[in-house]
Amino acid sequence: MFSSLIAWFTASAQWSSTTGIPTRLLQHLGYTALTVLVAAVIAVPIGLYIGHTGRGRFLVVGLANGLRALPELGVLVLFVLLIGLGLTPVVLALMLLAIPPLLAGTYAGVSGVDPAAVDAARGVGMTERQILVQVELPNALPLMVAGLRTATLQVVATATIAAFVSLGGLGRYIVDGQAQRDFVQMAGGAVLVALLAIVLEVALQGLQRAVTPGVRRTRSTPVVGKTDTVTVGG
């Protein structure tokens, strides 16, 4: 079994053809990057607003709790039936997964900034906009990156399912292998997806550490820590 898996990985067609591993990998990363980017454009400003003003907090909590129970596969096929095959329904379905952690991370980051620092900034005559950009945003960065990490991992995992609704990406190998009763192909795809997720997790963990100032913490993320583990697992 393992030798045929190695043969599957090392076959030359696997690395040159248009359905080969590099193409599938790029497609997978493409869906993920597009989704996280669009989700961030929506979630970060809302999170900043809620964190800065304290208005609409229930939205953050409600979304994070409610969307966890939603089965992604069902949402994905529903969107495809409503919108039609293509990239749009997949990105929309994946966005539902990416928005809550990004929103929660941004909100928790901004609202967790030391009120004394914000008061001091106000005291020296900073405008609300300056406070947000120069004081709250830099201080919120570690938790925002924690949200980004959760969102990315969630999306990369669920993008695997996109192959079921006729898109590309690494999930193709699992879905095609299932259709062709080709277990080697399925296992190969699964190993690739798992490796990709682990590599991204390690990279984003590194990024999170890089933006966290001061003493290295022994426990990675204090506040989002709980939401962190809450939403993953596609």
Partner: protein, 215 residues
């Protein structure tokens, strides 16, 4: 009860079993592992990152790799149960550590002074005080388990998730919506029951900090 050409009740029962058995197994495995990670710095340094990596592996990939690891057939429900147990352990080890961390040092000292032996202290003092954090972890594990079982439908083992794959093949929106609603309702009912169980086991926690596991 037949709906959309399928027997719904057996599917729902299968879904509940496939979702909850792993959470139960996960809790049983996590308690000693979490205690070990709590009591030893070295174990914590290995176990917590390891569970983090396990939790990162996408569910579909884990379902597919299981037969390789376990030697089962691809359509064996054991694959889904073991894969979801791994997720539950990954989540709950952290909850056990967090829960035990919550117990104040002076309470432990008082317990020792009253003559509790280590095991008695664990079951008589530490675990009861860790219940709110544990229940919060179990609720998260259970709710996500319900949605993860459905993913198994792609490899022919998804209980209510088959409503999604079949509905997609037949372009039948109502069937998909029905699947979504039924899985959501099941997950929320279980979540509510677990919340009640938490209140029963640790009535002081709800009064003290109602919002604590929210964000």
């Amino acid at each position: 009860m037949r709906l959309f050409g399928a027997d719904i009740l057996p599917l729902a029962a299968e879904h509940i079993v496939l979702a909850l058995v792993p959470v139960l197994l996960g809790l049983v495995i996590s308690l000693p592992l979490g205690w070990w990670a709590w009591s030893s710095r070295g174990a914590r340094r290995i176990l917590l990152p390891l569970t983090g990596v396990l939790y990162t592996i996408p569910s579909l990939a884990l379902f597919v790799v299981m037969p390789l690891v376990l030697g089962t057939r691809i359509l064996d429900p054991v694959n889904v149960v073991v894969a979801l147990t791994i997720y539950a352990v990954a989540l709950l080890v952290r909850s056990v550590v967090d829960g035990l961390d919550e117990v104040p040092g002076e309470v432990l000292t008082a317990g020792v002074a009253m003559g509790y032996r280590p095991l008695g202290l664990l079951f008589g003092v530490q675990l009861p005080l860790a219940v709110p954090v544990l229940v919060a972890g179990v609720r998260v594990a259970a709710v996500s388990s319900f949605s993860l079982v459905a993913v198994g439908a792609i490899i022919g083992q998804g209980a209510l998730g088959t409503l999604f794959t079949q509905g997609f093949e037949r372009f039948y929106t109502a069937q998909i919506v029905f699947g979504l609603v039924s899985i959501l309702v099941l997950a929320l009912v279980i979540d509510g029951l677990l919340m009640l169980l938490g209140r029963l086991l640790a009535p002081w926690a709800a009064a003290r900090a109602p919002q604590r596991q929210a964000v």
